[in-house]
């Protein structure tokens, strides 16, 4: 006998991501064992050469940074042009803890995460009150100032123009040498997955729904009685800490810190990755990161080793040229990014497009 409570359970429609996701994960895990020629796509001679693995690990680090940024940009709708402050900050704090203060790896990691979290809080409290355009400019100015401080190196700890190199003393045995490229690779993979999972759960939590609501119409959320500043601050700090974590991975993969990671160009790169991959779709950032790392690292090498005459060769080896053009094309005609193109736009209202920056209610 059926009761009114016997609501028939609808079956979830099968989604391709159920297969593609685990498959990609599997490929990611076994990549270091794949002894196949890399055909110029990866820097090493084979797919599992140390150079190739580190290249992929670098993409993982950027993917982590991009996913963290997607939390504030894609979900909470906050356009911040200064995410390099947190990502680069994580890289530098880790490197400084290792090289200047000689802390061990885990303690260095903790230092990076905690300090960046505090920085995000201190920065966020005044600046999150301001709306879209002004907020973007303040974050840009912050990242710019941070970049200058790193280069000028007033306390003599950042290594200035040259950056810091990790001597490896602070790293455990299994991460030190070239032969341990596999372990670095797996570490990067694991951290990227951790960031993905945290971001995934955070954006699906009740707080995550509030973020999306704030993105759509902050005034309405306020009228409903919620303190939007608290929610924005939460997204902001979480995003910063995850970016710092990605930064720690970057430092390990690249064996140090360099001035790029704290620069405005890096913040723009993260922005490009998120747009290319798909705003509001976390896995899109992973795809975007691979495109970016390929374009900025491999493309110049491929161009310079081919026979394109100067000055065209010089122009084409500027990574920002193809990236910038593709970026513009995507913003104009495919604002949902690659994820949007794959999933078909319109499937997801609101998260596929670019939301207007939320205004502070007058």
């Amino acid at each position: 006998m059926t009761s009114p409570l016997d609501i028939p359970r609808t079956r979830r429609r099968f989604r391709p991501s159920w297969i593609v996701g685990p498959l990609a994960l599997l490929i990611g895990i076994v990549l270091p064992f794949v002894n196949v020629p890399a055909l110029g796509i990866l820097p090493g001679s084979t797919v599992n050469a140390p150079g190739s693995l580190l290249f992929v690990a670098a993409a993982f680090a950027f993917a982590g940074a991009a996913m963290s940024y997607d939390i504030v940009f894609g979900f909470a709708g906050l356009l911040s042009l200064g995410h390099s402050l947190f990502f680069g900050g994580g890289v530098y704090l880790f490197a400084i803890s290792q090289e200047v203060f000689h802390l061990d790896m885990w303690l260095s990691m903790l230092v990076a995460l905690v300090f960046i979290g505090m920085l995000a809080f201190i920065v966020g409290v005044p600046t999150l009150r301001v709306n879209g355009f002004a907020f973007a400019m303040v974050t840009l100015a912050l990242a710019s100032a941070g970049s200058v401080i790193v280069i000028q190196d007033p306390f003599n700890i950042t290594g200035g123009d040259v950056g810091l190199t990790l001597s490896g003393d602070g790293l455990p045995e299994w991460l030190r040498g070239i032969k341990d490229a596999r372990n670095v690779y797996w570490l990067a993979l694991v951290v990227m997955l951790v960031i993905f999972v945290i971001a995934w759960f955070a954006t699906r939590s009740p707080a995550g729904h509030v973020w999306e609501a704030v993105r759509e119409n902050e005034g309405r959320v306020r009228i409903l009685g919620l303190r939007t500043l608290d929610y924005k601050l939460g997204a902001w700090v979480l995003s910063a800490v995850l970016a710092a974590l990605a930064g720690v991975v970057y430092a390990i993969v690249f064996s140090g810190a360099n001035i790029f990671v704290a620069s405005v160009e890096c913040a723009i790169a993260i922005q490009i990755i998120v747009i290319l991959g798909g705003v509001g779709r976390l896995w899109g950032s992973i795809v975007g990161a691979f495109i970016y790392v390929f374009a900025s690292n491999r493309l110049p090498d491929i161009v310079s080793s081919s026979d394109i005459p100067q000055p065209w060769g010089g122009v084409l080896s500027q990574p920002l040229l193809p990236l910038g053009i593709v970026f513009i094309v995507f913003v104009l005609w495919a604002p949902g990014g690659i994820a949007g193109l794959v999933e078909g736009r319109g499937r997801r209202q609101g998260s596929g497009g670019l939301a207007q920056p939320t205004g502070a209610t007058p």
Partner: protein
């Protein structure tokens, strides 16, 4: 004392540069909510155009420098018109998309310049007059700096006169206050916007030649560095307010110059950011902005 004077003159001329960039930005944003991150490219291309003109003579006179300035002004305006027609026109009211597209454009242009012209700084030949030294209160000031200040003041006055005393200026001021109402009154505000945008481009281009005089050399990323602080100036002064932009430009430049010199290079930039955050906390619409920026 002479150090203070040198720093002060430096601040005023740097402020003039920021104002040249910022005035166009503040009017564009105030009028049509348009953000143009490629504005730095206008400055850079203007600088290179001026450079190309100046390279025609081994020792440029002041008239030839003025010719170069005119060339950079025209180049800036033309580039602005092209970009407005090709990109901005499709993106009215989509602030995020504009910001991103113009960021992309800025970097594409930068990449093209770096690729074709290489990143090496090129000495900007300013000629004997501008490089001559003037003594003020014991400080040795290059005449070029004073000229920049003069140009800045003249441009400021001209813009204010234009806004207050011409019909176009009236439309622009009204549009900044309430563009919907202006359109409802039957005035095509888009044409005024194209004028404003082209004007901004021209000023940025002129700023390019002035930047060449100020720094003594030019390079492809010249515009980007100045642009960031120009945005700070625009936000601090209040979008839509030219006077606010001028005041903020002076504040930012002075703060940068003095703090960078006395405390440490880079600290000035940091203090500027703190200043900006402070101003926004107290007055979210900027110093002289009309309303809280609700986009």
């Amino acid at each position: 004392m002479s150090t203070v004077i040198t720093l002060l003159i430096g601040s005023l001329s740097l402020g003039a540069l920021y104002f040249m960039l910022g005035s166009g930005l503040t009017l564009s944003f105030g009028l049509m909510r348009v953000v143009n991150f490629a504005h730095g490219a206008f400055l850079t291309l203007g600088a290179f155009a001026g450079y190309a003109i100046l390279m025609l003579w081994p020792d440029p006179t002041i008239w030839q420098v003025m010719l170069a300035a005119l060339a950079s002004l025209i180049v800036g305006a033309l580039l602005a018109l092209v970009i407005e027609w090709a990109f901005i026109r499709r993106l009215y009211d989509r602030v995020v998309a504009q910001l991103l597209v113009t960021i992309g454009l800025g970097y594409v242009i930068l990449a093209l310049l770096s690729g074709f012209l290489t990143d090496d700084p090129r000495r900007f030949p300013t000629g004997d007059f501008l490089e001559s030294i003037v003594e003020i209160g014991g400080a040795r000031i290059p005449a070029g700096r004073l000229v920049i200040i003069g140009v800045g003041v003249v441009v400021f006055v001209l813009i204010i006169v234009f806004l207050r005393s011409t019909r176009h200026g009236l439309i622009i001021r009204a549009g900044v206050e309430n563009s919907a109402m202006v359109t409802a009154l039957g005035i095509d505000i888009r044409r005024s916007f194209v004028l404003v945008f082209a004007l901004g481009g021209a000023l940025a281009g002129l700023g390019g030649t002035l930047a060449g005089v100020y720094f003594g050399s030019i390079y492809p990323s010249l515009g980007q560095g100045l642009l960031i602080f120009s945005f700070v100036v625009v936000v601090m002064g209040g979008t839509g307010s030219v006077v606010g932009c001028g005041i903020a430009a002076l504040i930012v430049a002075t703060c940068q110059q003095f703090v960078n010199f006395y405390i440490g290079h880079g600290t000035g930039d940091f203090i500027v950011v703190i200043l900006l955050a402070g101003v926004l906390l107290v007055r979210p619409q900027g110093l002289l902005g009309k309303k809280a920026l609700a986009i």
